[in-house]
């Protein structure tokens, strides 16, 4: 009855249409889910998508929080998009995020309690370096030994988590913390605190960095030769070789840049919203950013928007739990649906649906 026919070329129309369609189908299916749980589906969807932005009670707090939540997602997703375009699959941003946080916090704690305006810039450099070095491991292993970067970068997340657990209880442990794990709180250390640039706006230095990164990557991808090389390598690996693209340099660039940006995100998080290195410091930004990158079509502007949207579902989802007493799992399911339907609707970019029997 239905038949899928491969399109000779990806449909540009569907590439841009499918995220919107996916969001719409998610709303409908989510509504059915919430109705099955005995809640008014319109109310639930309104609380998730509308209330964080416009509810008189919450909006003044949730709107800035949206930026706080979206900032690291956008920063990481932009980095990932370079690699994903070139066919270099960095799945380990979560680990690079952790290492960036550890490097950044280490610099701060090494200077504690000295106050100096050079500390924060040094932390930024250290954070980027930490993530960069952690991203470099799968890059070099792939370039030299042809290992699979998906597996190596993913496995390094677990190594990073173990390092995080170790430093939380040892190297970076707060000496005034009664033996409990966790570092000093950097929010209380003026020179190292990643503060809001404008009070109560949610706009901390990391969010500003994320916005700058969106602009810079847009320029690189559209105007710079490196952007061309990346896209070419992804679309036509053989042609790119003839064009003189050095594949090793390309892998190192992609994993290095995504590692550095993930590391920066970790640094801004540990010195800002989170404040301290703890065993449970990482909360999945590195993985969620993969969804953000794809939902944003690997395009800087798209990533910017999808980062905000995913942040909205988090904050709205929390509100829905609170206001309606919805189970936490139903919100996770709702977010999962979004990726699921995106993958499903992406099918139409590559395939045409033919209705009717023909042989």
């Amino acid at each position: 009855m239905f038949k899928l026919e491969k399109r000779p070329q990806q449909s540009q129309k569907w590439i841009y249409l499918s995220p919107f369609l996916a969001v719409l189908i998610t709303m409908i299916s989510g509504g059915i889910l919430f109705a099955a749980l005995g809640e008014n589906p319109f109310e639930a969807i309104r609380i998730i998508f509308w209330d964080p932005l416009f509810d008189p009670n919450f909006a003044s707090y949730s709107r800035p929080q949206l930026l706080v939540k979206a900032g690291p997602l956008i920063l990481i997703a932009i980095g990932l998009s370079f690699g994903f375009k070139a066919g270099v699959w960095n799945i380990g941003a979560e680990g690079q995020y952790i290492l960036g946080a550890i490097f950044g916090a280490s610099v701060a704690l090494a200077f504690y309690p000295m106050e100096s305006k050079f500390i924060f810039p040094l932390m930024i450099i250290a954070g980027a370096l930490g993530g960069f070095l952690w991203g470099l491991i799968p890059a070099l292993l792939k370039a030299k030994l042809n290992t699979n970067e998906i597996l190596v970068s993913l496995m390094l997340v677990y190594v990073a988590e173990s390092i995080l657990a170790s430093v939380s209880q040892g190297l970076l442990k707060n000496p005034d913390g009664y033996g409990f794990p966790g570092s000093r709180n950097l929010q209380n250390y003026e020179s190292a605190a990643n503060v809001e640039i404008i009070a109560n706006s949610g706009m901390h230095w990391g969010v500003l960095f994320a916005f700058i990164t969106v602009i810079v990557s847009y320029i690189i991808l559209t105007k710079h030769i490196q952007g061309f090389n990346i896209q070419l390598t992804g679309q036509a690996p053989r042609a790119s070789k003839f064009a003189g693209v050095n594949p090793t340099a390309n892998i190192v660039f992609c994993l290095g840049i995504s590692g550095a940006l993930a590391g920066l995100a970790g640094m801004f998080e540990v010195s800002g919203p989170s404040g301290q290195i703890t065993i449970e410091f990482n909360s999945g930004y590195g993985f969620t950013a993969i969804i953000v990158a794809f939902l944003g079509r690997l395009h800087p502007i798209g990533i910017f928007l999808s980062g905000l949207l995913i942040a909205l579902t988090y904050i709205g989802g929390e509100l829905a739990q609170l206001m309606l007493g919805l189970p936490g799992a139903s919100i996770q399911l709702f977010q999962g649906m979004l990726l699921f339907f995106l993958l499903a609707t992406d099918l139409f970019a590559n395939y045409k649906v033919k209705i009717g029997a023909d042989n």
């Binding site: 040892g170 409990f180 404040g275 410091f281 609170l322 007493g325």
Partner: protein
């Protein structure tokens, strides 16, 4: 769609207004696990339900489950405060700094943080002396193990967990000088897959008793599958695994505390306090000791429970040496709360190191 959302909004705000009129006090709960974990979070939620039942319409409760420790929890607490909560219980160690931060922004809202050590004018702390229950577990474990190997699933190497290991070990050794503890750390409070893996690994190493300081029933299921292994319910009774593998349990009973604190807010008598109650006041309960335990062992365990409850016996009574052989408590000396709260060392006889 627009009209619908306006109508829905109007209905919702009417509902909120009605609720606000009905209830004198709104109490919020922040949970680290799902309410259906049948362990730690489940018992806190039972406490919440007890508050609802006790006060009826005078009190409204809200909760949020699966809240990650760290920056996310700060937002959840803030939203609860914005929503009008008067009293907020934050029920995991990792919520400590976020609780303090949010409490600063809402001086009129009372906060209660479980298992931490930071307080403020509007932040109390509360915890239970779980180590009292661990002593009874250790006694039963030492008596019942045939392989002399007891497995212990540790969550995070924080004082509370280390204290439990020491208490169980001391009492197991007392009745069985050959007993050894195999301790694994899994760095999570709730992860059924990791907990099951840890339990299975311990059983394969020859442990026929598995103790856990994690919140799911996965270790119980793993023990049931392996057969011949005994376990204890953790935080909650976990009665569905009776009579084997679960032979007894430590039950956290938060209900009386939650009711008392809510009452204090209603009366306007709430003040910042530090509560650390054990078996005596009923914050720690010992679940039914099943028929799988020999009658004499059961009788001894119950006698110990009574002695602890009446204050005649302190589970940390000297002579006890630290792991390195140095004297910690002289004969007859009991541990002071300060040392217990910061406990980061093993007692003599435990192999391995507290992860640093």
């Amino acid at each position: 769609m627009y009209i619908k959302s306006v109508i829905a909004g109007a209905i919702a705000s009417l509902g909120v207004a009605a609720a606000a009129l009905a209830a004198d006090v709104k109490v919020g709960f922040v949970y680290v696990g799902p309410v259906g974990d049948y362990g730690w979070t489940y018992e806190h939620d039972q406490g919440r339900l007890a508050v609802e039942e006790h006060f009826g319409d005078r009190v409204e409760t809200v909760y949020q489950e699966l809240v990650p420790e760290g920056a996310d929890s700060e937002r959840v607490m803030t939203q609860m405060a914005l929503q009008g909560a008067d009293l907020i219980f934050t029920t995991s160690f990792g919520y400590m700094e976020p609780t303090i931060n949010v409490a600063k922004k809402f001086p009129d809202v009372k906060f209660e943080h479980a298992t931490g050590y930071m307080r403020a004018d509007n932040v109390s702390t509360y915890s239970a002396r779980f180590y009292e229950g661990r002593a009874i577990q250790g006694h039963i474990a030492g008596k019942m193990t045939k392989t002399n190997k007891v497995g212990y699933i540790g969550s995070f190497p924080i004082p509370e967990v280390v204290r439990g290991i020491n208490s169980a070990f001391i009492h197991a050794r007392k009745v069985n000088p050959d007993v050894e503890f195999n301790i694994v750390w899994i760095y999570t409070w709730f992860d059924p897959a990791k907990e099951a893996d840890a339990a299975t690994a311990l059983i394969e190493q020859g442990c026929d008793v598995v103790l856990q300081h994690t919140d799911s029933t996965a270790p119980q299921a793993a023990a049931e599958k392996a057969g011949g292994v005994i376990t204890f319910g953790q935080a909650s009774d976990m009665a569905m695994f009776k009579p084997m593998p679960r032979v007894s349990s430590i039950i956290d009973d938060w209900a009386p505390y939650y009711i008392a604190r809510t009452q204090a807010v209603l009366d306007g008598t709430w003040t910042s306090t530090d509560t650390w109650d054990g078996i005596g006041p009923g914050m720690v309960g010992i679940g039914e000791i099943t028929s799988a335990v020999p009658a004499d062992v059961k009788a001894e365990a119950l006698a110990m429970k009574d002695a602890i409850a009446s204050g005649d016996y302190h589970p940390f009574t000297g002579p006890i040496n630290k792991q390195d052989g140095s004297v910690w408590l002289a004969a007859g000396e009991t541990a002071d709360d300060g040392t217990l709260l910061g406990m980061n060392f093993y007692v003599e006889g435990i192999k391995g190191d507290v992860p640093q």
